[in-house]
């Protein structure tokens, strides 16, 4: 007689749900608190709440930032609940004695786990919809997209947890492996960069993000985001001056399709888990790793991470102070890595064998670990993979980002081909002059207190986004001298020519660049901050562009970039939103001679002549040789700071902060620094 239970068993399903009700019950209770809090706020605000579009935006925000974090934790708890029988010889004995095939157990447990995942979301979702119906904020499309998103992420994370469940044989290893797999790519990226930047000239990033998509939570949170479109409305009012407000007009879930891709991956992972279950040996219950082929992966993976992280730590503890120059000394580093690798290798071997007596039987593997450490260090030291020498070909990039002179420059092939070639030439010159760059950097770091205007120290970063989507990023800390800046072909010279070229000065403003969408803007003057609307920003930036064209703005003085004595106490900040939810900004410090900009600001009513106070007049102590001593004397004498005095009386008392002779003389050939563009790519 065939068993009535084949692919699904209702008894087991009900048993799973009834056994683990505290898990999904508690999660449901926690979820239900949010709609209840919404309801309380609603009652408090007299049912004046969000519009349907704003409600949808809130759903998408939760889907983007909340659900991945909740799901990653909750999925592994559900997986631990339904698969924990695999990790105990007694329970696996009972379950595998029952008259049900493994596919029946698998399907039933997977469905139980998914239902356990769905219940809290369903409870929370239904309550939220009910509350939103109350205040008229219900928007069916947003709800549907959110439901699909939650379902997709739940399937993915539960699929991943299930996949992990069949690799391990111990319940404590399941969350450990699951956590590791979720962040393995990020961890590997970080680890390899940590080692590589100690060997390779130009590698300075501790994280490249190249394989971020293998870290689902990180990638989903980065990529799947609500894209809200606002319309700027100018409000005319008889009481106040006209002001602009932003009204939400559209909300989309950007890259929502990625959730579907991850959900499909989750299904594939579950299928792989099923294949592993078919072959799983019940006797593996209690083992650290239950799958034979994973044992060497676990052993050597532990050894590799331990070699790099532990080796780096040991090197920092015992050798870094003896290190010559900026990069690792190879032999001590190899030794530290071998010691670190041995710790990881033998720890993993002990866990796998469940005994401490592993030294005699595993020495060959340890030899392989040691050889691996030597090979890795040698490969990095001698640049076997050409990492240091690499300058991507112009036709292989889809965007070049240069960070130099405190500003980001974004260059696109087809529009900025000549500039890209100049950037590549600069990059190549730095690589060719590596020995000089390293020696000079060391010398500069040793003599950094002996500052003269003959040399300076600057950071240049090249980021090439390749056509494949991968990024090549190099960063150099360069020592620039006036002598070399005058020599054709030196990297000092190429850098100065490039950054101070008229094209690059215009690039700094990002004006009329399609890749930049204004996000926020304001002007800071002596009297405070004033928000700027897009029309005002447009007017100001076009004026700055004309000033740049006339040579009154944008020339960067490498040797006196911090001197802002001839700047007004006034900054225009413009924040931009770029592709892929990256952000960038510029701060334009208005200086003497920027006639077009000052005129535009006056016409917009943002400043008056009273705001045109130069820093050297407002803060003279900052620019004189004994200025800070005089500052302290002033405070003692007048019982207030010089700023307070100046703001109150519009000038300083006679005899104090004498201007002409006390202000630092500006070098004759210096270009007037006109701005510092604080650029932070998010």
């Amino acid at each position: 007689m065939r068993s009535k239970t084949l692919c699904f068993n209702g008894t087991l399903f009900r048993k799973n749900l009834s056994r683990y009700w505290p898990l999904w019950g508690l999660a449901s209770f926690g979820g239900a608190l949010f709609p209840l809090a919404m309801l309380v706020n609603l009652l408090h605000s007299g049912f004046d709440f969000w519009t349907p579009l704003e409600t949808t935006q809130a759903y998408y925000n939760v889907l983007s930032y909340g659900v991945p974090v909740i799901s990653i934790v909750y999925a592994v708890l559900c997986a631990m609940a339904v698969w924990n029988y695999l990790y105990n010889a007694r329970s696996v004995g009972l379950m595998h004695t029952l008259p049900i095939r493994r596919e029946g157990l698998f399907v039933t447990n997977v469905l139980s786990g998914l239902v356990m995942m769905a219940i809290p979301y369903a409870v929370t979702g239904v309550l939220i919809v009910l509350v939103s119906l109350l205040y008229g904020g219900f928007e069916p499309v947003g709800v549907l997209v959110t439901i699909l998103g939650v379902a997709g992420e739940s399937i993915f994370f539960f699929g991943l947890a299930t996949f992990c469940a069949f690799i391990v044989g111990n319940v404590f290893m399941l969350p450990a492996l699951y956590g590791l797999l979720n962040f393995l790519a990020v961890l590997t990226d970080f680890t390899m960069n940590l080692l590589a930047q100690g060997f390779c000239f130009g590698l300075n990033s501790s994280y490249s993000g190249t394989v971020e998509w293998l870290s689902p939570v990180v990638y989903l949170m980065q990529q799947v985001q609500p894209n809200s479109i606002y319309q700027e409305n100018l409000v005319q009012n008889s009481v106040y001056a006209p002001y602009s407000t932003n009204v939400l007009t559209e909300v989309h879930l950007e890259n929502g399709w990625l959730i579907a891709v991850y959900a499909a991956v989750g299904v594939v992972l579950m299928a792989l888990a099923w294949l592993m279950y078919r072959r799983r040996r019940s006797e593996s219950a209690g083992d650290v790793v239950a799958v034979g082929w994973m044992k060497p992966v676990f052993r050597y993976g532990c050894a590799a991470f331990s070699a790099i992280l532990g080796g780096r730590l040991l090197y920092a503890l015992f050798w870094e102070s003896f290190q010559n120059g900026l990069y690792f000394t190879v032999l001590p580093m190899i030794l530290c890595m071998i010691v670190g690798g041995a710790v990881g290798y033998y720890a993993a071997s002990m866990l796998l064998a469940k005994t401490l007596r592993v030294f005699r039987s595993t020495w060959k593997g340890m030899l392989a670990v040691a050889l691996g450490c030597i090979a890795l260090c040698a490969a990095m030291k001698f640049d076997v993979f050409g990492v240091v020498r690499r300058v991507p070909a112009a036709d292989s990039v889809k965007q070049v980002n240069l960070y130099a002179a405190d500003s980001n420059y974004y260059l696109t092939p087809g529009q900025d081909d000549a500039l890209i070639e100049e950037v590549r030439a600069l990059h190549q010159a730095i690589i060719n002059d590596k020995d000089h760059a390293l020696t000079a950097a060391s010398a500069a770091s040793e003599a950094c207190t002996d500052r003269e205007v003959l040399y300076t120290y600057t950071t240049v970063r090249f980021t090439y986004t390749l056509n494949s989507g991968l990024k090549v990023e190099r960063q150099y800390d360069l020592y620039l001298t006036r002598d070399r800046m005058a020599q054709d072909g030196s990297y000092d010279n190429l850098l100065d020519r490039l950054i101070n070229s008229p094209e690059m000065r215009q690039k700094r403003i990002r004006w009329q660049d399609a890749g930049f969408q204004m996000d926020s803007a304001w002007i800071t003057t002596r009297t405070g901050d004033t928000d700027l609307n897009s029309r005002e920003v447009e007017t100001i930036l076009s004026a700055v562009a004309r000033d740049a064209e006339n040579g009154n703005w944008g020339v960067y003085d490498w040797f006196d970039s911090q001197n802002d004595a001839d700047h007004y106490d006034m900054t225009v900040h413009v924040g931009y939103q770029m592709e892929n939810h990256r952000y960038d900004s510029i701060d334009i410090s208005v200086q003497e001679g920027m006639a077009e900009t000052i005129q535009a600001l006056k016409e917009l009513g943002l400043i008056t002549d009273e705001d045109l106070v130069l820093n050297r007049d407002a803060y003279p102590w900052q620019y004189s040789n004994n200025g800070w001593e005089e500052y302290d004397q002033f405070r003692n004498e007048f019982g207030m700071s010089p700023e307070e005095y100046y703001n109150r009386y519009g000038d300083y008392p006679a005899g104090w902060f004498g201007t002409e002779e006390s202000i630092t003389d500006m070098p004759e050939d210096s270009h007037s620094p006109s701005m510092s563009a604080g650029a932070a790519s998010a």
């Binding site: 007689m1 009535k4 239970t5 696996v92 009972l94 595998h96 029952l98 008259p99 019940s282 006797e283």
Partner: protein, 298 residues
């Protein structure tokens, strides 16, 4: 019929079952005996479908056990360490078993309630080991199995309950033709209930016979040789010999008639055949397999 043929099972290089072969006729009560680590529990886990053999066949009623849900529905197993859900009561476990075993009889479950006299609403974890074993029997017998596979089943049961449980199982064997395979170290008990016995050692079934055959195949002779014969004659096929005064006790692998006949050649003053217990058979058979009781003086 339960048939295990040439089964090999290794765990990380350790061979737990080494070409193990056994056969249990339908309706038989088969005692599987052997020293600790002989492979009894391993072979039982193959018979219940928990383990999959590396090679060989494990069949019940001519069907492979592995992933055979229909066949497993006719098997009830009580392992040495029976698993129950941590918060479950007997009634919870009854519902659980009922959901899997199509032949599960609620009627029998209710009848057995009187036999076992356990509080079915009390969490099983609060029961003593013996009471938990009773609960396992209660549920296993209610599943109305055609095959009962038991690993050290009566450990922890008091003598009265042991007799009660055996009586229930014997009743099933007699009435329903249930085939029982039981592994135990309690040879005295097995002797009373088993009609077939298999002896395992080092993952191999050394021998299996009906109990009658087994007892007929080995004999214990008490012999007094005539004056002048102080030692056991070398040409006698003796498995084990001991002597108290003039009385020699000889264990011989033959039946009583043949042994008496062989001894008559030496004109003994006394030659009596004494039946062997299962325990003695076990000890002397395994003595030949290098598993003798060692005379160690500490």
């Amino acid at each position: 019929m339960i048939e295990v043929k040439n089964v090999v099972k290794t765990f990380d290089g350790f061979t737990a079952l080494n070409d193990a072969t056994l056969s249990v006729p339908t309706g038989a009560v088969y005692g599987l005996v052997g020293p600790n680590g002989a492979g009894k529990s391993t072979i039982i886990r193959h018979l219940t479908g928990i383990f999959r053999q590396d090679s060989g066949t494990v069949q019940l009623g001519g069907e492979d056990v592995w992933e055979n849900a229909a066949l497993k529905a006719r098997i009830a197993a009580i392992p040495d360490d029976w698993y129950y859900f941590s918060t479950a009561t007997i009634r919870d476990m009854m519902r659980f078993y009922k959901g899997f075993y199509p032949q599960f009889s609620t009627e029998r479950y209710e009848k057995l309630k009187e036999v076992f006299n356990l509080d079915e609403k009390r969490p099983i974890r609060r029961f003593s080991k013996g009471m938990q074993k009773q609960a396992a029997f209660w549920l296993a017998l209610s599943a109305m199995p055609d095959y009962l596979i038991l690993d050290e089943p009566v450990d922890g049961l008091d003598p009265v309950m042991r007799r009660q449980v055996w009586s229930l199982m014997m009743g099933d064997v007699a009435e329903r033709g249930t085939t029982v395979l039981v592994s135990s170290h309690n040879l005295r008990e097995l002797e009373d209930v088993c009609d077939h016995v298999g002896i395992m050692d080092h993952g191999h079934v050394l021998l299996e016979r009906s109990l009658a055959q087994l007892q007929d195949n080995m004999v214990k002779m008490q012999v007094v040789f005539p004056d002048g014969v102080n030692e056991v004659p070398a040409d006698l096929p003796v498995l084990h010999a001991s002597r108290i005064g003039r009385v020699h006790t000889l264990i011989m692998r033959m039946n009583a008639e043949e042994a008496t006949e062989r001894l008559m050649a030496y004109s003994p003053l006394l030659a009596d055949a004494v039946p062997l217990t299962l325990e003695e058979i076990f000890i002397y058979e395994l003595g030949g397999a290098d598993y003798a009781v060692k005379d160690i003086v500490l």
